[in-house]
Amino acid sequence: MNEFESIEKELKSLTPKNPSPQLTDRIEQGLGDAGNLAMRRLPEEIKSPSASVKSNLTFFPWLGLGIAASLVITFLSVYFWENRGNEQFAPSSVRSTSPQVSLYEDPESPIHGVSVAELEAQSGMPVGGWLPTFQERLLDRIDEGVISRPGRLPARQVRMHYIDEILWQHPATNKRILSTQPRQEIILIDLDLY
């Protein structure tokens, strides 16, 4: 038996003071982008209902065609409605995510010359009234090692893989369409040599 077991136990019962919140803030600022490279998902969010909706949707590959068509329809509908001077449509979120998209007639388009009413009839889906929700999902981060930069400090290059998701919801018909787009981002983190 360790003769110092009792004193070790008493020492361990003493609790060092916690760092001040100011110190934590300073560290957060000091880390910058480097602080966000390794993230953990908060436990309560794992069972997020929106996540299950999305995972279910991704099991239906045939939705891809529908997504593309509905996006075209939605943008065209914005164009048509604006031309008619109708100020009631065009939700603010659409305007904010795609400001002043320049739309033009494309004779090559499969829906060229097709009216909105015909589109609705053919697709079986409403043209207006869709509300988009944007979400960015981090899929992977790859450490590509240290790179040298002439005349500057070396840096660690990290490639981030994201999926940008737009969930279009139509409250009136309770329809949902998920659009996904992959995106890459490269972050360079300055390395201090000491």
Partner: protein
Amino acid sequence: MINTEPIWKSWFARHGSRLLLFARQQARNPHDAEDLVQEAFVRIWRLYGHTGEVAPGLVYRAIRRLAIDWARSLDRRIIREQKTFELTPLSSSFEYSLEKDEKQRALLRAVDRLPDEQKEVLTLKIWGELTFDEIARTLDLSLNTVASRYRYALQKLKDWVPEELDDPNPNLASK
């Protein structure tokens, strides 16, 4: 929306108080100790944080090396730190509670009386939870030296705590 949190936050919540305790011994000044922790942690996390886990020993070592660099570069700082150290003993770096019994207070007074080189080994072993091997690498000492200092420290505490309980204001110079 999926909520996420940077891993460094939970890592720092777990190890931050221990790092600060060690830095207090290296800097001898509460403000410089915070600067040391910040600088050392940011440097190490920038190098290895992308993996999601960093061995605490790396940060302790960085604190130690930075403290030596800073002390060498600023002679005036040393004088100020030594003065501050007399005013801020290590025992002030622990959570204070009214319920803390007399024995714990006696233990803290005894810890304050330990020589610095034993105190830092004790800090890394008890609160830093490092192995003797990690402590030896952190302090650039041999394994035997680290183990001896730890044993001497515990022996002194074992002897001194009853003295502190009998006489809360002993003559420190005689110890």
